[in-house]
Symmetry: C2
Subunit: 302 residues, 2 copies
Amino acid sequence: MSEIGKPFKVALIQMRCVEDAEANLVNAKTRLIDAADRGADIACLPELFRSPYFCRVEDPSLFDLAEPIPGPTSRAIGAIARQTGLVVVAPIFERRAAGLYHNSAVVIDRTGSIVGLYRKMHIPDDPLYYEKYYFTPGDLGFQSFRTEPANVGVMICWDQWYPEGARITALMGSHILFYPTAIGWHPSEKAEFGAAQLDAWTTVQRGHAIANGVYVAAVNRIGHEGSAQGGLEFWGRSFVADPFGRVIAQASTDAEETLIVACDPRLQEETRRNWPFLRDRRIDAFAPVAKRFLDDPERNPR
Amino acid sequence: MSEIGKPFKVALIQMRCVEDAEANLVNAKTRLIDAADRGADIACLPELFRSPYFCRVEDPSLFDLAEPIPGPTSRAIGAIARQTGLVVVAPIFERRAAGLYHNSAVVIDRTGSIVGLYRKMHIPDDPLYYEKYYFTPGDLGFQSFRTEPANVGVMICWDQWYPEGARITALMGSHILFYPTAIGWHPSEKAEFGAAQLDAWTTVQRGHAIANGVYVAAVNRIGHEGSAQGGLEFWGRSFVADPFGRVIAQASTDAEETLIVACDPRLQEETRRNWPFLRDRRIDAFAPVAKRFLDDPERNPR
């Protein structure tokens, strides 16, 4: 951890995810090869990229979409990683055992080997995002993985609202936190709340970048899935924030595109030197973070 | 904690702080009376409002600026609180004992009594912000105080970069987090970094509002203090973010002004119902937040 790393380039693959799982894999492979051609060192695919966002309904037959790790997707992406020399963050709907599934991501290195596995820790459950039905919360904790180009932290979607996950993953030495994501608007809410929702999503993650002095990359899908009024419009807007929270690249809301973004650990070093937040953390006073709530009817009674 | 609170109005008193400690008190009193006249329930003054930001130099004679709590400032503000019916968050340079000083804030209720004391937990030390020379880090932990209008969390300035403090204070049932502040630009850096610094400061605090579903109010001073090139230009820009992170009021960079801002616990309730982050926190996995760093040379060796 003591040496400053070398510059590296990341690829954020913002794509549409269709019914045909094989078509999604072909699309991902094509975009990975393109990313490598454009100089990327590390690429990240969107959450659950092999399928539409199936959590819009609760249907036991949809567990058929899951697969083991290692399995077909990790092997296919591993072959591309080996071919291109890319490190790849590849989200997978993981079948761990009968009746036990996770929303996971593997990190595959340039040799095609699995470097690590992350299982989504925070599982949402809201109208049209019925994830608690499908996914057991992760049991591997927060994780950062050493790869040749950089130390890669990985979390998934709903995790991005939790400063604790970002903090722990950053403290493991991450140069960058990747958040593969599937987030979008309810068409009926978009006019009233859409702009504020997108802004909150961007802002909280920029906050993680600032508080931790770390690059943050959010990789979302695009496209409308489901019925015109009852479905979801995934809002794209994949972005990278630098360690000072500046958005240095951001994709559109509605187009498939791959952002290639240069990152430099020296900027992380400089940022943390100038505003040295890590120096002063009151770790003696942080234990209450691990409490559900701090209700105390005796506190300051009146 | 189980009942939804009533709407309340806060006053953010953005002021200039001059050499004359009495003049600063008179200014604060005048502005507090004005805030009450304009309907405020809770008012917050800037960090160390009784003096210029003396931490620009290390000088033992400056400890003469400190005072006990209770002491002259808490009594003077208490009298105004009683007179106006305001709850006041009043920062004080606290002399606790010979050689033991804190950067503190008292919360004074409508009767003029001290409801609580917060001592700044995170102490910065950077060129022209030599706070570690003056202030012992707080030993009271993070705190939220029940007052009649609302539950008031208080932190101070450098604390605002730490998601842990915001989280703990929010989990104590705060409706709003106040951050009395003294932050500004180094004139020599302003052209290159000024906009990014101000934006990072605003963004990280908006992030606390979003992650916790809580109002956040930052109260800064204005004015240039010190030599033209060697001093500090305090950037004002006091603001309130709502529980969704939207900036609902923001002051200028260079004028004394009091923002009066309406807050509604029902919006906090609605925001947390719609994006229920508190429901899903992985408290079983947050213990590493209380570590300095998570270096592990054996992790994922290569």
